[in-house]
Symmetry: C2
Subunit: 248 residues, 2 copies
DNA sequence: TACACCGGAGAGGTCCGACCACTAGAATAC
DNA sequence: GTATTCTAGTGGTCGGACCTCTCCGGTGTA
């Protein structure tokens, strides 16, 4: 399968891929210094760096200036940083991202109801409590909101779906971190989260899915209202407002 | 806000991002030659290349040796090339990928039933016909199978979900392109595809979702059987695929 | 005229070797 | 004992030379 051995980039990628697949490289492990590694692979440091850069862009490697290069640790990320670029390029609409999120998260909630463990339920419960405690503080609230959804993703037992959700939500969050929510809405939001929690804890998958869907639909329409009041212009274009103009 | 201006890589990425968001760069467009572009941005060619490499790894740019560098054309890809690496790294299980696919595609089918257009229906119909015509030729059959699912994704009207599906299926396909299917199964498969087609054409979303789910569940168990019969006792090798562990 | 070949222009790919910038821990000063 | 400074090690940037690939137009032959 390796006709790709001509390109230095792919030689590096395949080499590291092999080290990972053979188990010789685990998440968090460090690879040799560039100069040394390049010598070992019989390629120039520049080419090695190209390959490492490729892997870093895919989220497989983690390069830290002055420290070293490591295999990515923590939860997997699938195209997390690329989605917003791709969105700008292909004109993704906000409603499409919401739709993707709604589908992923509602199924995730159903899976969590089926497979979640006591430890997950405890975390969920705690986050719900924190939400109620911070309805007056949107900033704080948001943190627990995000954590709640993240715990559900973990509880689903499917890291791929969890990673996809993370990708979507981070892009979505990126696009609207400026809209401040009102406390009145947060109370309702917390209520819905509690409903979701209860459905999951009682292992009622259908209910969990339904409530999650309702919650996200509500969040979307709230978001849309806010966007319309902020930007009286027609919604067809809907770029990400407020960015610096590009200096061509 | 933009402390990212220190890293040359990010300077390049942000510059190109700006050009894309301002509409100055469309899919298929070409960016200036490296030497010239580097001069214009007041950075070295090496740094420019690092940035371009980053964008290329994310699927935003398309670099062609001896020709030039272009903004990616065609359908968007989200982490398509990274998933298999990530899978090896985080130990993704085969059933998890199937599960992700089942969820995405069944919802995609439902959306296609709601929003599909005549042109999509026509394509689907054609692919189904081709499937029946090639039940004796697994290679050919597979092509139409893939196309069928791809058309559904397009018909869903949600390019994000379509891209996610493409990512999953290509990783899945990668991992089992070696398993040849039997013609007897293909006939059943074609029947199911026809059912899906009918459900979509009659705009019966629930039915489309259900049949798609059934189809993929069937495909998965067929794969599992094949995998087990191919490698009945794996002592040393430890193939990356795996069966569903009841634990977690 | 039609076709195959050749060669050059221009684009990306690789390499080298020097130097810059950052981080963490050791050495030093207080 | 604590705060500061120094330094070894590692990634980041540079520029400029040279290689390889693709494309296309010119040329020679049938």
């Amino acid at each position: 399968m390796a006709k790709t051995d001509t390109h230095m980039t792919m030689r590096v990628v395949n080499h590291i891929r092999g080290m990972i697949e053979s188990g010789g490289l685990q998440p968090g492990d460090r690879i040799p210094p560039e100069r040394e590694f390049a010598r070992k692979l019989r390629i120039s440091r520049a080419s090695l760096r190209t390959g490492i850069g490729y892997l870093a862009a895919m989220g497989v490697m983690d390069v830290r200036h002055g420290v070293g290069t490591f295999v990515a640790d923590g939860p997997p990320e699938i195209g997390k940083s690329s989605l917003s670029l791709l969105g700008a390029l292909h004109g993704f609409q906000s409603w499409q991202m919401f739709e993707a999120r709604r589908i992923l998260e509602s199924e995730l909630a159903a899976l969590a109801a089926e497979r979640g463990r006591e430890q997950h339920f405890a975390s969920l419960s705690e986050e719900v409590a924190e939400m109620y405690a911070t309805v007056a503080n949107p900033m704080e609230y948001l943190i627990h909101d995000i954590r709640f959804h993240r715990v559900i993703a973990q509880a689903s037992g499917n890291p791929i779906l969890a990673a996809l959700m993370e990708t979507i939500t981070s892009a979505l969050y990126d696009e609207r971190r400026k809209t401040a929510e009102r406390s009145r809405d947060l109370k309702e939001s917390a209520d819905l989260h509690r409903e979701i929690y209860r459905a999951i804890r009682t292992r009622n998958a259908a209910e969990a899915r339904a409530v999650m869907k309702r919650h996200l639909a509500m969040a979307q329409s709230a978001q849309d209202l806010e966007a319309n009041s902020t930007a009286p212009r027609s919604d067809g274009r809907a770029k990400k407002a407020g960015k610096r103009p590009a200096e061509a």
